[in-house]
């Protein structure tokens, strides 16, 4: 009768705890098998240990073993054992056996599973002096479970690291791509700013150069027209008046362009001070008296006797001159009414005419640059198409608004508001 071998429970419990702690410290998949060989021989005192990694189809693709002296692989992996291994792989169960290699060993073949998939087998064997009793097999099963869980952990950690590294790489690539783009944009921006600055300088200097000769053209035509330098006949007077008007028109064109380039470059300095708006409106109205009389247009003015506001007088005048000028230009018969009314914290100025009016489809483009309304059956109007655009830009600067209403063929009314007290403009 065989003596029942003693099972040293405490020894294996300690070994298991050490194993659990040891595998928890493993961080890479790489040496998991050599580490497990150490664990089995040192902690559990197994006499022979071998691991076989396998693919999903059961094909063994890698061996790792720790065998006692004098024992070779051929001794262990006999055809019979290979068959048992295959059975274990297929069934996923533990199998025990005895081999002679050349001593007698009691061996067990255990599946190592990752998420229910057998990915390796462990062959562990003891000399017959300490055979694999049932209790020990249970411990080995638990160890196999631990190895499976550890491999699964290491695989997913490696996967995670790969993802992480991939993401980091992507982020790095994107970052450097974006940095490249930013640099490109910054360079483009610098070039644009430089181009814009050159445009401003160009306009300012060309504007000055163009105006200087106009100074003497307008001045001397005026002097000759006055008759200071001697009598001139009617024909000469008519011709010189044309010269003077053309020069004045050219001058206002240059001035408009300069104004717009300054406003768009944000270089406008406003001259904010208190002034009498009523006096200004009166002055503008009077400046168009002759032009209106030539076309037999009536001009009326409705306003308070005195209305002091705080704004840019010169710019306000510029807008009003533009609107009244347009009204005179586009009206052949009837009247032009200018109204000034105080409305709460604002003043509202309107210029109404009985002129040609504006078509609905042209209303939208009215305040855009280089827009001139078409006037069928009329000679093309002189003008830059910048007047209303400039007026709107000026009013934006002064915290005001402008709008237009019109009935084609009947007339138009342009209305703009200004704050009574300019207090800066947001943005």
């Amino acid at each position: 009768m065989l003596k029942k071998p003693l099972f040293n429970q405490q020894k294996y419990l300690d070994a298991f705890i050490k194993t659990a702690q040891y595998v928890a410290s493993l961080t890479t998949q790489q040496d998991v098998w050599s580490e497990m060989l150490k664990v089995m021989t040192h902690f559990f005192g197994s006499d022979l240990v071998a691991f076989g990694e396998c693919r999903a189809d059961g094909e063994i693709i890698g061996h790792h073993w720790a065998l006692p002296e004098g024992v070779s692989c051929e001794n262990i992996f006999t055809a019979e054992i290979k068959e048992i291994i295959n059975e274990v792989l297929e069934g996923g169960f533990l199998a025990t056996h005895q081999i002679y290699a050349p001593e007698e060993y009691s061996i067990a073949i255990l599946p190592i599973k990752q998420e229910n998939q057998t990915t390796a087998v462990m062959l562990v064997g003891n000399r017959m002096s300490e055979p694999l009793v049932k209790e020990l097999l249970n411990v080995y099963l638990a160890v196999a479970g631990l190895i499976g869980a550890t491999t699964a952990r290491l695989v997913s950690e490696a996967e995670l690291r790969r993802h992480h590294n991939h993401l980091e790489k992507l982020v790095r690539e994107r970052t450097s791509e974006l940095e490249g783009k930013t640099v490109e944009l910054e360079e483009a921006n610098i070039r644009l700013q430089e181009a814009d600055r050159l445009k401003s300088i160009f306009l300012a200097s060309i504007g000055h150069e163009l105006r200087t000769p106009l100074n003497s053209i307008i001045g001397f035509t005026g002097i000759i027209l006055q008759g200071i330098s001697g009598e001139i006949n009617e024909e000469q007077k008519k011709q010189l008046t044309t010269v003077k008007n053309s020069a004045s028109h050219l001058l206002s064109l240059i001035n408009d362009l300069l104004d717009i380039s300054k406003i768009e470059a944000g270089e406008v300095e406003l001259g904010i001070e208190e002034f009498d708006l009523s006096a200004l409106v009166e002055e503008v109205k009077n400046s168009f008296r002759v032009a209106a009389e030539e076309k037999s247009l009536k001009m009326s003015l409705e306003m308070l006797k005195r209305l002091t506001i705080k704004s840019d007088e010169r710019r306000t005048k510029q807008v009003l001159v533009n609107l009244v000028g347009n009204a005179v230009k586009f009206t052949d018969r009837g009247k032009i009414e200018i109204k000034v009314a105080k409305k709460e914290e604002k003043v509202e100025l309107s210029v109404r005419d009985t002129g040609i009016g504006i078509r609905k489809e042209e209303m939208e483009r009215l305040f855009q640059a280089f827009t001139q309304i078409s006037s069928q059956g009329r000679p093309k109007q002189e003008g830059t198409g910048l007047g209303l655009y400039l007026s709107k830009k000026i009013l934006d600067l002064l915290g005001g608004e402008i709008k237009a209403e019109s009935e084609f063929g009947k007339g138009s009314v342009f209305t703009f508001t200004l704050p009574l007290k300019y207090e800066g403009v947001k943005g």
């Binding site: 105006r211 000769p213 003497s216 001045g219 002097i223 104004d259 270089e267 406008v268 001259g271």
Partner: protein, 119 residues
């Protein structure tokens, strides 16, 4: 008749301003640089100076400042010629010490009456 110094480097403008002033029986002195303008203002003691702002050498603003520093030029009326679109020129001219300004281009109909306001 008053003695008026015109500081202007542009010949056409100098001719125009000189012509209008002489027509109104004023005596005209001409300077074509800022330095010359300062020198004549102090030496010749004119009744009024018409000063262009853009000049070769020292500009009109600097010329005004130098004239103001001298005893002879302390109370001298100095009228600057400013360009319409040169926003800020007026403010700069006043802070340099000018008495008044006339906008270019010169309007021959009103030029004399504007000048004579300061005489």
């Amino acid at each position: 008749m008053k003695r008026i110094l015109v500081v202007e480097d542009n010949e056409a403008n100098m001719y125009l301003i000189g012509f209008i002033l002489r027509e109104s029986k004023h005596q005209v002195m001409e300077a074509r640089t800022g330095e010359e303008g300062v020198e004549l203002s102090i030496k010749e003691k004119p009744d009024l100076v018409i000063m262009d702002l853009q000049l070769p050498g020292i500009d009109g603003l600097e010329a005004i400042r130098r004239i103001r520093k001298s005893e002879a030029g302390e109370k001298l009326p100095i009228i600057t010629l400013t360009s319409y679109a040169m926003v800020g020129d007026r403010e700069k001219a006043f802070s340099a010490g000018c008495t008044g300004y006339i906008e270019k281009p010169i309007n021959p109909d009103t030029f004399i009456s504007e000048i004579e306001k300061y005489l």
